[in-house]
Symmetry: C2
Subunit: 151 residues, 2 copies
């Protein structure tokens, strides 16, 4: 049995295109993410991509609230909470009350967290390079540009 595709008939009476999973963007996207995660783990096995993103962003912008940090790292409030909790347990992040706003807690890197970021930036750059390795320099630029449009 063939599955019908919407609006894709080439000519009257032609076979409609079949839905092939391996051709769908979402499916390929998931696999590319998986490969990236695997490459990341190979270089920076002590930390996850998400945790690294959090540390790197904290290093970039300095002390911030948890909500803002979540937005900057593209994480749900519930997700960033768990990530920050784990980073605090490891001593990479500390939190202190915000004097100006009783709801907020200011998150910041500890010295240990700061040192960890500094020590692993070369590895993190390498992960990006590894991920794009199958492409030529020219393709890499094109790909990154197009990918950014799908954000």
């Amino acid at each position: 049995m063939t599955i019908a595709a919407p609006r894709e008939r080439a000519s009257p009476g032609a076979e409609p295109a079949a839905y092939v999973l391996d051709e769908q963007v979402g499916f390929i996207l998931r696999q590319a993410s998986q490969r990236h995660a695997s490459l990341f783990a190979a270089r920076l096995g002590e930390i996850t991509p998400t945790q690294w993103a959090t540390l790197a962003k904290l290093h970039e912008v300095g002390p911030t609230s948890q909500n803002r940090l979540g937005r900057l790292t593209a994480m749900d409030v519930a997700t960033i909470k768990g990530v920050v909790d784990r980073l605090m347990k490891r001593g990479f992040v500390r939190s202190e009350a915000d004097g100006a706003d009783a709801r907020r807690r200011l998150l910041a890197l500890t010295d240990e967290g700061s040192a960890f970021v500094a020590a692993n930036v070369p590895g993190a750059f390498a992960v990006s390079a590894d991920t794009l390795a199958p492409l030529t320099a020219r393709e890499r630029a094109i790909f990154t540009t197009l990918l950014a449009k799908l954000t």
Copy 2:
């Protein structure tokens, strides 16, 4: 404090490139996946992308073992187990013993699962289109080709 990049010095004494999270492929890749998941949910809210992938693949290849299905859908053995369990609970998938191999259980779509796939193929096509909507037809082709190389 500036973070040093590896092997990226343009000229002697030049500033090393900073590590900016928003420029890293992995980070953008994650956001593209998130956007896709969101678009998927908008069209096919009753099911997740992973569950849909499983149903679609089962429809493509017919009855299979759980392990093989996991490989075909790029899922870990532990992951595919949970996905299949949920699909069985919903009545979309059934499993029966494989006469030839006592370890295996043959998974197959139920009539209801088959009908669900048929009814939602147009929506699934639309999700792929939605995801690539920010790109021109030409860009879409290029992007998909390059993305596939990163698998």
